[in-house]
C-alpha cells in the first residue's frame, strides 16, 4: 500500500522519525563540489560556485580564469561572470538575507554580487589591519561576518547594508603556535549585548569574544580541545565536537544537555543543526544524524555533499541531487505511521475506499465522526508539508472529503483548505526546477510572501512574481511597479505611470531599465524629471532626444560630454561651432581684439571634428572657410579701421569692399573663396548701383561680355529708378521676352509691345496689357498686336 511505503523511507531516532526527500536531480553538468568553493543561500536560495583556489585541482578542458557561477537550487545556471579581482585568495563567500553574494578575499576586500553576477559597486575593505594581516577565515551569519586575520585579530561587519568594519576585542592568540580549531558566532539578535559574540576553540578551551571583552570559558565539562562548534538556529543550544570523539550539546552556559560518542574521534568536516533537535555530522562518505538517543541514523554518500541548514531541517546538496532532511512533521506522522489509527489516517483510508467504491469508506467515517475536524486539520497540515504533488492532492482531497461530512458552520475548515491550496500552488510554482526555490511550508511562512516575490523579481522571474502577487493580493505599489519592468507585462497594467516605475528603477540602480521605461511614458513632462536624476542615458532614442532637448536649453557642457561619450562627433562639432558664435557676441570680440584667436580656434576644432566623419565633409569645408573669412574680415577691419566686416557673409564682404571703393580687397576675397563669375557679377553690379556709380557700372559692363548677360545691369538700374541708365542695357538683353518686360517696367509701352510681338508671345502681351490698364493708348497697342499674333497663329 502506498501509505506503508511512505513511512518505510523514514528513519527512527529516539522517538522521532526523520525523512530525507529528494527534491531535485541537479540540472548542472560537470560540477564537482569538492573542487569548488560553494555558497548556498538558505530558504532555497541560489548557489554560488567558484573554483577553490586553496586546493590544487586538475583543470579539464576549461579556462584557467576562474568563473563565478550562480545556479538556482535545481542547478539551473542563472548567471556567471569571470572572477578577476585582485586581493589574493577567496577566503569566504556567503549570501546575505537580501541575496547579495559577499566574497571576502585575503586582503580583506569585500566584493558584492547580485544574483545576476553583476558586481555591485563600490567594493569595501575590512580595513587597513586586515589588509596588512591577511584574512585567514571568516564566519558569516545572516547579514554579517567575522573575519580572523593571520595575526589572530577579529574584525566584524555587523550589517552588510551598511558596511562599517570594526575590530573586536583582541583574543590574543599566538597564531604562529596554534591556530584556533574552530570558530562560531552567536548572532547579535540572540546575545544579551545585542552585539555579535564569537566563539573560538583555542588550545584546550573556548574563548568568547565580543566588542570589548575576551573571556575564557570556565567549565569543567569542556573536554577541550574543541574541534567543531555549531550554534542552533535559535541561538540557545551549542553543539561541539570534542577531541575525543564526543558530540556534546549544551546550553550557552556550557551545561551539557546531552552527549553522544561517535565511532571516530576525527572531527567532522561539516556539522549542522537539523531543526532544533538533532545535529548532522558529515565526514568522508558518512552523514550521521545525532539526536537525543544513544543511536544515530547514518547515510552513506559516495560523493561530496554540502549541508545547508534551514530553519526546519537541512538541505543536502551533492553533485547530482538536492535532498531535504527533516523531522517528519507530527501530522504527517500521524497519518502515515505504520499502523496508525489516528482519525486523520482513517480519513485518508476512507478516501481510498471511497475512490475504490468500497463501503468501508462509510465505516471509517463512522469511526472518526466525532474527531472529524481534527482529522481534516491534520490532513490539511500534512498536505502542506509534502513536496510530492500527488500526495498533496490526496491529502487535500481527504480533507475536503472529510469536511463534507461536518454539515454546517464549518467555514473555518473550508477556509483552511482553501488557504492551503493557495499556499501549495505558490510553493509548487516556485519549486519548479526552472525557478528552483525548494521552500518548505515552514520556510515559506517565516520568509513571508512579499520577500519571496522580491527575490523572484531579483532573479528576473517577473511574470511569476507578478502572478503570485496578484494571486496573493499583495500589491505593494513599488513592488508591483518593479515587477512590471518587462514590456510584455507592462502591457497588462494599463494606465500605469511608467515614469514612476522608471524613477523607482533608477533609485534601485537600474538605469538601463529606467531609460527603457521612459520610452513608454506618454506624459513627457513626467519624463523629464525622471530623466533628470539619471546619470546616464542609454541608446534609447526617445529618452535620449528628451535629454538632449533638456540639456540644450539648460546644460550645454553636460550635453557636450554626452555627445562625446556616445561618439556623436558632428554634434560636438556643432556645439563648439555655436560656442564660437557666442564668443562673437562678446562686444570685446568685434573690435579686432585678441579674442578672435579663441574664436577661430573653436571653429577649427569643430572643423577637425567634422572631418572625422565622411558624411560631414561639407561642414568641415564650410568651417574651414568660415575661419578663413573671419581672419580676412579681421584684417579688413584693421586696415579700414571700420568694424563692419566681422560676421557678415562673403557676399556682403565683397559688396562692402566695393561700396568702400576697395576693389582690390573685393577681388582678393573673390579669389580666396573662388566666388563664381555669376555671383561676382550680381554682387558688383548691385554694389555699384548702391553707390550710384553709373560710370563704373558701364565700364564694368564693357570689361567683357557678362557671363549672365545684361539682366543684372537692367535690374539694378530699374531698382534704382534710373530709366536712362537702364536704357543703356535693355537693348542688349538677348531674350525679346525679357526685353519686353524690362521696357514695360520702365513704362515704355510701345517698345515693350514691339519686343513682345517679336517674341510672338500672346500670353505675355495680355499680361503687359493688364499692367498698362490705366493707359488706354497703350492698351490699344497691345490689343492690335495680339490680334495680329493670333491671326498669325490661325494662319
Amino acid at each position: 500500500m502506498a501509505n506503508v511505503s511512505v513511512a518505510a523511507e523514514w528513519q527512527l531516532l529516539s522517538n522521532r522519525f526523520y525523512r530525507k526527500l529528494e527534491i531535485y536531480q541537479m540540472r548542472w553538468k560537470h560540477v564537482d563540489l569538492s573542487r569548488n568553493k560553494v555558497a548556498c543561500a538558505p530558504f532555497g536560495g541560489p548557489i554560488a560556485i567558484i573554483r577553490d583556489d586553496s586546493k590544487i585541482v586538475q583543470l579539464y578542458s576549461e579556462s584557467a580564469l576562474r568563473k563565478l557561477r550562480i545556479f538556482n537550487s535545481a542547478g539551473v545556471l542563472i548567471s556567471e561572470t569571470i572572477w578577476k579581482h585582485p586581493g589574493g585568495r577567496l577566503i569566504g563567500m556567503s549570501w546575505t538575507d537580501d541575496q547579495t553574494l559577499i566574497c571576502i578575499v585575503q586582503d580583506g576586500t569585500i566584493y558584492r554580487y547580485n544574483i545576476n553576477a553583476e558586481c555591485l559597486e563600490p567594493n569595501y575593505s575590512m580595513g587597513k589591519e586586515c589588509f596588512e594581516q591577511n584574512v585567514v577565515d571568516c564566519v558569516f551569519w545572516g547579514n554579517g561576518v567575522v573575519c580572523l586575520t593571520e595575526a589572530g585579530k577579529l574584525f566584524c561587519v555587523a550589517d552588510f547594508k551598511d558596511i562599517k568594519p570594526y575590530k573586536l576585542a583582541d583574543p590574543i592568540i599566538r597564531m604562529e603556535e596554534e591556530l584556533p580549531h574552530c570558530m562560531a558566532v552567536i548572532e547579535p539578535q540572540y546575545t544579551v549585548s545585542g552585539n555579535v559574540v564569537v566563539l573560538l576553540g583555542v588550545g584546550d578551551g573556548i574563548v568568547t569574544v565580543d566588542d570589548d571583552d575576551v573571556r575564557q570559558v570556565e567549565s569543567d565539562d569542556l573536554r577541550g580541545p574543541v574541534q567543531k562548534l555549531a550554534v542552533s538556529h535559535n541561538g540557545r543550544i551549542l553543539a561541539r565536537f570534542t577531541h575525543d570523539g564526543y558530540l556534546v550539546m549544551s546550553n550557552m552556559q556550557f551545561d551539557t544537555i546531552f552527549e553522544y560518542q561517535c565511532e571516530s574521534d576525527l572531527p567532522p568536516e561539516q556539522m549542522a543543526w537539523c531543526g532544533l533537535d538533532s545535529v548532522l555530522l558529515y565526514r568522508d562518505d558518512m552523514l550521521l544524524v545525532v539526536g537525543p538517543s544513544e543511536y544515530c541514523i547514518s547515510y552513506i554518500y559516495d560523493e561530496p555533499v554540502i549541508l545547508i541548514p534551514e530553519c526546519d531541517g537541512v538541505r543536502i546538496l551533492s553533485n547530482s541531487t538536492l535532498e531535504f532532511l527533516q523531522r517528519v512533521p507530527d501530522s504527517t506522522e500521524s497519518i502515515f505511521k505504520i499502523g496508525s489509527t489516528s482519525p486523520a489516517s482513517l480519513l485518508v483510508d476512507a478516501l481510498d475506499h471511497f475512490d475504490r467504491r468500497s463501503a468501508k469508506a462509510d465505516e471509517n467515517l463512522r469511526l472518526i465522526r466525532t474527531s472529524l475536524p481534527e482529522a481534516v486539520e491534520a490532513c490539511v497540515d500534512a498536505a502542506g508539508h509534502e513536496f510530492d504533488v500527488s500526495r498533496q492532492r490526496t491529502l487535500l482531497r481527504a480533507a475536503s472529503y472529510g469536511q463534507a461530512f461536518f454539515g454546517f458552520g464549518s467555514n473555518f475548515q473550508r477556509d483552511c483548505i482553501q488557504e492551503m491550496c493557495k499556499t501549495l500552488r505558490v510553493l509548487n510554482a516556485v519549486r519548479d526546477f526552472v525557478i528552483g526555490v525548494p521552500l518548505s511550508i515552514q520556510q515559506y511562512k517565516s520568509l513571508t510572501a512579499p520577500v519571496l516575490i522580491g527575490r523572484l523579481i531579483n532573479a528576473h522571474q517577473h511574470l511569476l512574481a507578478l502572478r503570485l502577487s496578484e494571486y496573493l493580493g499583495i500589491i505593494k505599489a513599488s513592488r508591483k511597479q518593479e515587477i512590471d519592468n518587462e514590456k510584455r507585462e507592462l502591457k497588462i497594467c494599463k494606465g500605469i505611470s511608467y515614469a514612476a516605475v522608471a524613477a523607482h528603477a533608477d533609485k534601485s540602480g537600474r538605469r538601463k531599465l529606467a531609460a527603457m521605461l521612459v520610452e513608454y511614458e506618454s506624459r513627457s513632462s513626467k519624463q523629464r524629471p525622471a530623466l533628470e536624476f539619471f546619470g546616464t542615458i542609454q541608446a534609447r532614442s526617445f529618452a535620449r532626444d528628451l535629454f538632449i532637448t533638456y540639456a540644450r536649453s539648460y546644460k550645454h557642457e553636460f550635453l557636450k560630454d554626452f555627445f562625446l561619450s556616445t561618439g556623436q562627433l558632428q554634434d560636438v562639432a556643432f556645439l563648439l561651432w555655436k560656442e564660437s558664435w557666442e564668443l562673437g557676441k562678446n562686444p570685446m570680440a568685434s573690435k579686432g581684439s585678441p579674442l578672435h584667436g579663441p574664436r577661430i580656434k573653436l571653429i577649427e576644432k569643430a572643423q577637425n571634428l567634422f572631418s572625422e566623419t565622411k558624411e560631414h565633409t561639407f561642414e568641415s569645408k564650410a568651417a574651414e572657410e568660415h575661419a578663413k573669412l573671419l581672419r580676412i574680415q579681421h584684417e579688413l577691419e584693421v586696415s579700414t579701421k571700420q568694424a563692419i566686416f566681422v560676421d557678415s557673409s562673403i557676399s556682403d564682404t565683397i559688396r562692402t569692399c566695393i561700396v568702400l571703393g576697395n576693389h582690390r580687397a573685393a577681388m582678393k576675397v573673390k579669389t580666396e573663396f573662388k566666388v563664381s563669375e555669376k555671383r561676382w557679377y550680381w554682387l558688383k553690379v548691385f554694389a555699384l548701383a548702391t553707390i550710384r556709380d553709373w560710370d563704373a557700372l558701364e565700364k564694368f559692363s564693357k570689361e567683357k561680355r557678362p557671363p549672365i548677360g545684361y539682366r543684372p545691369f537692367v535690374e539694378a538700374c530699374i531698382d534704382a529708378d534710373e530709366k536712362g541708365e537702364a536704357l543703356k542695357y535693355i537693348p542688349k538683353l538677348g531674350d525679346p521676352r525679357e526685353r519686353a518686360e524690362a521696357y514695360a517696367r520702365i513704362g515704355m509701352a510701345k517698345e515693350a509691345a514691339d519686343a513682345a510681338s517679336q517674341a510672338k508671345d500672346g500670353e505675355l502681351l495680355g499680361r503687359l496689357k493688364l499692367s498698362f490698364a490705366q493707359n488706354t493708348a497703350a492698351s490699344s497697342i497691345f490689343d492690335t498686336l495680339r490680334d495680329r499674333l493670333s491671326f498669325q497663329g490661325v494662319s
Partner: protein
C-alpha cells in the same frame, strides 16, 4: 471688441469651451484677493486676447504687464505670473524676485503655468532658491477657438521641435487638447492618422482614454464622428507654395496674428498721423470677410468691384428718384455694410500692390513649375539666381524645400553647390539652418527616385484649367494645384485609408486607422447598440456629423479654405472642424528652421 470671434454658428459648441477657459482664468484672479499685477508671457497674450477682454481682467483687480527680463514696476504686493513652461521665462521670474529681494520689497508671488506645470521649470526655481516663495498653480488652457471652425493648440514650434530636436512634448499637449474635446463632446469613434507624430498622438490619446476615461454614457452619442490626424511633414509642398486665397494672401504678405492683421493706418484710409499702426480683425464675424476669405484673390477683386458698383447704383437711384420708406430702409441697411466694404477694398488694394509685382508672378510661375516636376534645370537656375541676388533667405528656403521635397532631395553636386552658395551669400551662421533642414529631411541629398510624380498623378494634384470663379475642385486655392494634405483628407473622409494605402506608403511616416469605443469598460452589446442608435438619430436630425481634422505642425489658410470648400459641397456628409498646432505659412515654417546666431 470684434477681435473675439463670434462662435454662434459653430458646428460644435466651442462657445462653452471658450467660456470655460474664461471662467478658469477669472477664478484664478478671484482667488488672489485684492489688487495684483498680472504678468503675462507675451506669447500667451495673443491667445488670451481671443478668449477674454483685457477690461475684464482689469475689473478683477489686475494690473497688466508683459513678462520680460526687465524688473516689474508696480505698487502691487501681489504678483501673478501667467507663463508657459519655459526655462528662459523661469530665469526672468527668478531675476525679478532677486531684484525685489535686493530692494527689500516683500511680495507675494504666484505662478500659473499654462497649460500645465513641468517639473523641470520648478527645478530651475529651486536652483535659484526662489521656489519656496512661489505659490504654483496651473491654468489648463490647451486650445483656443480662432474661428467657428478652427481651433488652435497654440504650439508654435511643434514642427521644428519634433523633427529637429526630437522634443515630442508638444504631442502630449495635442493629445491632451483632443482628449479635453472628447470629455465635452464624447469619445471620437474613428481615428485616422498619417505621419509619425500623428500616429503617436493617436497612441497617447488612447493611452489617456485608459488613464482617465471619458465617461460618455451620460452624453448620448459622440458629437465628433471622425478624427483625422495629419503631420505637416507628410505634405511640406503645400505650405511652401504661395497661397492665393484672400485670407491666405493676407497672411503671406501681412501676417495674420491671432485673427487680425496690423498695418499702417494710412492704408486703411484713416486720417491719422503718419506711421500709426492699426489692427484689423479678420474672422467670421465680419460677414463680407466670411463671404470672401476662402475665394481666390482674383475673384475677390471682382466680387468687391461688383458690390461697389451695385452700391453706387443704389446711391444714384437714391438721389435721382423718389423712394418709398421701405426702400429707404433697405438702402440704409445696405449702408451698414459700407464700413466692411471700405475695409476690404482697402485691404485688397494693398494686397494687389504685392500681387501685381513681376517678381511675385515669376515666383508663382516657378512654384508651379516645381510642383509639375517637369523642368528641373529651370528651377535650379532660378534658385541659384535668387541666392546670388541675396533675395530674402526665407523665400530662398521655401524654394529649396519645395524643390528638395518634390525631388526627394537634390543631386549631390547641386546639393553641395547650392548649400555653399547659400553660406557664402547669407553667412556661415546658416550652417546650423542647413543642418536643421537636413535633420528634418526638408533639404537633403538625393538618394532615391522621387515619388512625387506618382503621388501627383494618383491624387490628381495638378488640375489644368481651373476655374477660380466657379470652382469645382479644391485646386482653386492655388490656381491649379490641389493641396496634397487636403486631398488626403478628402479621401480619408470618403473611404478611409484602406483604398489608398499604396499612395500613403509613398508619403513620409506611418499611418494608422483605429476604431475606438467610448465606454471604457468592456463594451456590451447593449451599449454598442445604443451608441450607434444615437449616431443614427443625429443624422436623422438633419445635422451632419462632424470630422475633426488636426494638423500637427500647422495648417495654412489656403488649406482651411480648401476644407471649407469641401465641407460646403453638396455630396459631403460631414461638417469639418480644424484643429491645428498653429496657423502657418511657408515663411513662418521656413523661418522656424533658421538659426539666429548673430
Amino acid at each position: 471688441m470684434a477681435q473675439i470671434p463670434n462662435l454662434d454658428n459653430s458646428p460644435l459648441n466651442l462657445k462653452s469651451l471658450r467660456e470655460l477657459s474664461q471662467r478658469e482664468l477669472i477664478n484664478i484672479l478671484k482667488n488672489i484677493r485684492g489688487k495684483k499685477c498680472l504678468v503675462i508671457d507675451p506669447k500667451l497674450s495673443g491667445s488670451l486676447s481671443l478668449i477674454i477682454q483685457t477690461s475684464v481682467l482689469r475689473e478683477h483687480g489686475a494690473e497688466l504687464r508683459h513678462l520680460s527680463a526687465d524688473p516689474i514696476q508696480t505698487d502691487c504686493t501681489k504678483v501673478v505670473y501667467l507663463v508657459r513652461s519655459r526655462f528662459n521665462l523661469m530665469r526672468y521670474i527668478c531675476s525679478h524676485v532677486h531684484n525685489d529681494i535686493s530692494k527689500g520689497l516683500e511680495r507675494e508671488y504666484h505662478i500659473y503655468f499654462v497649460p500645465r506645470r513641468e517639473v523641470v521649470c520648478e527645478k530651475v526655481l529651486e536652483e535659484e532658491k526662489v521656489h519656496h516663495l512661489m505659490t504654483i498653480g496651473e491654468y489648463p488652457f490647451y486650445m483656443v477657438p480662432l474661428d467657428e471652425d478652427v481651433l488652435s493648440f497654440e504650439l508654435d514650434f511643434a514642427n521644428k521641435d519634433c523633427q529637429v530636436d526630437g522634443d515630442t512634448s508638444s504631442l502630449w499637449y495635442i493629445a491632451k487638447a483632443i482628449h479635453k474635446l472628447e470629455s465635452s463632446f464624447g469619445v471620437i469613434p474613428h481615428v485616422r492618422a498619417k505621419g509619425k507624430a500623428s500616429v503617436r498622438v493617436a497612441d497617447i490619446l488612447s493611452h489617456m482614454q485608459t488613464e482617465e476615461p471619458v465617461n460618455s454614457s451620460d452624453m448620448g452619442g459622440p458629437e465628433i464622428n471622425t478624427l483625422i490626424l495629419l503631420d505637416r511633414e507628410v505634405d511640406m509642398v503645400t505650405p511652401m507654395c504661395s497661397q492665393l486665397t484672400y485670407e491666405g494672401l493676407l497672411d503671406e504678405f501681412l501676417h495674420i496674428h491671432n485673427g487680425s492683421v496690423e498695418l499702417d493706418a494710412s492704408i486703411m484710409g484713416a486720417q491719422q498721423q503718419e506711421g500709426k499702426k492699426m489692427k484689423v480683425p479678420l474672422n467670421s464675424s465680419d460677414k463680407l470677410f466670411k463671404e470672401t476669405r476662402d475665394l481666390n484673390f482674383e475673384v475677390v477683386v471682382q466680387v468687391l468691384r461688383q458690390k461697389a458698383t451695385s452700391m453706387k447704383q443704389d446711391y444714384t437711384e437714391m438721389t435721382t428718384t423718389n423712394q418709398t420708406v421701405s426702400e429707404l430702409k433697405d438702402f440704409v441697411k445696405k449702408l451698414n455694410s459700407l464700413p466692411e466694404m471700405t475695409r476690404h477694398i482697402n485691404l485688397a488694394q494693398h494686397l494687389s500692390m504685392f500681387t501685381s509685382k513681376q517678381s511675385f508672378l515669376a515666383r508663382l510661375d516657378m512654384e508651379h513649375t516645381i510642383v509639375e516636376a517637369q523642368s528641373y534645370d529651370i528651377c535650379f537656375e532660378y534658385i541659384e539666381e535668387l541666392i546670388h541676388k541675396q533675395e530674402p533667405l526665407v523665400s530662398v528656403l521655401r524654394f529649396l524645400i519645395l524643390l528638395s521635397v518634390t525631388n526627394s532631395g537634390l543631386p549631390k553636386k547641386h546639393f553641395d553647390y547650392l548649400r555653399r552658395e547659400l553660406l557664402h551669400s547669407y553667412g556661415f551662421e546658416h550652417m546650423a539652418t542647413l543642418n536643421n533642414l537636413e535633420k528634418a529631411g526638408l533639404l537633403k541629398k538625393q538618394e532615391t527616385k522621387s515619388n512625387w510624380l506618382t503621388v501627383k498623378r494618383a491624387l490628381q494634384l495638378v488640375i489644368e484649367d481651373t476655374d477660380t470663379a466657379n470652382p469645382n475642385d479644391i485646386s482653386y486655392v492655388f490656381s491649379g494645384y490641389a493641396p496634397l494634405s487636403i486631398r488626403l483628407v478628402q479621401h480619408a473622409v470618403r473611404s478611409g485609408w484602406r483604398p489608398m494605402e499604396e499612395i500613403l506608403k509613398l508619403l513620409p511616416g506611418p499611418h494608422s486607422e483605429t476604431k475606438r469605443v467610448g465606454f471604457s469598460s468592456s463594451p456590451s452589446f447593449d451599449t454598442l447598440h445604443r451608441s450607434s442608435e444615437a449616431a443614427d438619430r443625429l443624422v436623422a436630425d438633419g445635422r451632419r456629423s462632424l470630422v475633426l481634422v488636426v494638423f500637427i505642425g500647422g495648417v495654412t489658410f489656403a488649406e482651411i479654405s480648401a476644407l471649407r470648400f469641401l465641407s460646403a459641397q453638396e455630396g459631403m456628409a460631414y461638417d469639418m472642424i480644424i484643429g491645428t498646432t498653429n496657423i502657418v505659412n511657408g515663411n513662418t515654417l521656413a523661418e522656424a528652421y533658421v538659426e539666429h546666431l548673430v
